[in-house]
Assembly symmetry: C2
Homo-oligomer: 243 residues x 2
């Protein structure tokens, strides 16, 4: 079934019950977690007004206001820290390693949740934009120190059945024993099929570019934007107490 | 089935076929990924000698040399960067945002792989130690610039059936609309059942501590170690070209 897994961006008006979400989030708790500390929290957004407030952080992608439910998965060392402080223990989780530990926990948990939700017939869309505008999300959701949003999911019952998107051949992902670096010939082998797809040729054309890679480097994920956002991201990690 | 999901640390001597691993890694490619760029690579370790070399980075946990297969999941912006450079495009992915984008891709992919592998009856153990000693792993696996290990999995057919470990009540994880901060009373509600478990009481006793939280703060994940490792981690991200 997972062979046909697709991102779903359009949802029917049918509600996703609180019970179902709770059950799936609870089931997903079996995901491995550092020292069994469960360094994550999930903020559930159902109120229309909150979705409107969240939308700009996600570049106003229509799924945010269009989905019945939005879930924001957060790296959370606050709960563990408060537990320690209430138990005569001196926590030391206001550092970068602890952020990455908690982000790892949160992302693994999020992905299991998505896999389980899709098994139930739900559709999900993963919003990578979460780390592009974390400050606005932190404000909207009232996230305190040692809590950092790392992933957002829109969730609902599918109202579309898009075609499968392409993926790279598995040989481009796998390395045996040591990293097998990519020669120009191997890059050609792995990327030419993607570049030859009609939809990608069209994508290059409408963006007035010469190659598909240029659409990514010049328009979608530019060096300038990446560097500016990196600074905001590091500043936000500092503000949330993780640096 | 996922309700009974357990980490498996002991494996039978039965091989895990290359075909099965390839099939599962290929199936896992359906996991969402930033801009469909698939910012991850997986290094497969089967050679005994390589496992011995990897083991110290994982604090010599016996699973590393005991498992038939070890998989190291890497945040990889190198392949995409080389693709761009071979296509008259100017990549700009040597920054912190790009690391976090690629780490996110790699972790989501890793977790789907684990979920699929466990559905096949395989056992996995997630080694969070990967980011504690990245330099040694980078050297052993020959990881170039813009490639950073973020997760390691030991994999094999289960040779144990451990009891389920405890998890926090789901109400401790979920926040409705905004972050519902933890009062001392809520901390008590959520953590007392964990603290009352016989195994955890025993854990506190053999470590000569007063509370379970102290075992974590004073012994397992100390402030001093976290801060020292944070520095190494940031230094390594710089060396790999991500800062």
């Amino acid at each position: 079934m997972f062979n046909n897994r697709k991102t779903i961006r359009k949802y029917t008006s049918k509600e996703v019950s609180e019970d179902l979400i709770r059950t799936l989030l609870e089931k997903a708790e079996r995901t491995p977690t550092m020292g069994n500390l469960q360094l994550y929290s999930v903020v559930i957004t159902r109120e229309a007004e909150k979705k409107v407030q969240l939308a700009p952080a996600h570049f106003n992608q229509p799924m945010v206001t269009g989905a019945p439910v939005v879930l924001t998965f957060c790296a959370d060392f606050r709960r563990t820290t408060l537990w320690a402080e209430n138990r005569k223990a001196m926590p030391g989780y206001d550092n970068f390693l602890s952020f990455l530990n908690a982000a790892t926990d949160a992302l693994l948990y999020c992905q299991t949740f998505c896999n389980l939700a899709e098994e139930e017939g739900l559709g999900t869309c993963f919003l990578g934009t979460t780390i592009y505008n974390p400050q606005s999300i932190i404000k909207t959701l009232g996230l305190p120190r040692l809590v950092m949003p790392v992933a957002t999911i829109t969730l609902g019952w599918p109202d579309e059945n898009p075609p499968l998107t392409d993926r790279l051949p598995i040989d481009s992902i796998i390395h045996n024993e040591t990293y097998n670096d990519y020669t120009p010939a191997r890059i050609d082998t792995f990327y030419t099929p993607k570049e030859q797809l009609e939809e990608n040729k069209h994508f290059v054309e409408i963006n007035h570019k010469e190659t598909l890679a240029q659409v990514f480097t010049d328009l979608r994920y530019t060096k300038e934007a990446n560097e500016a956002i990196s600074e905001v991201l590091l500043k936000t990690l500092k503000e949330q107490g993780f640096m």
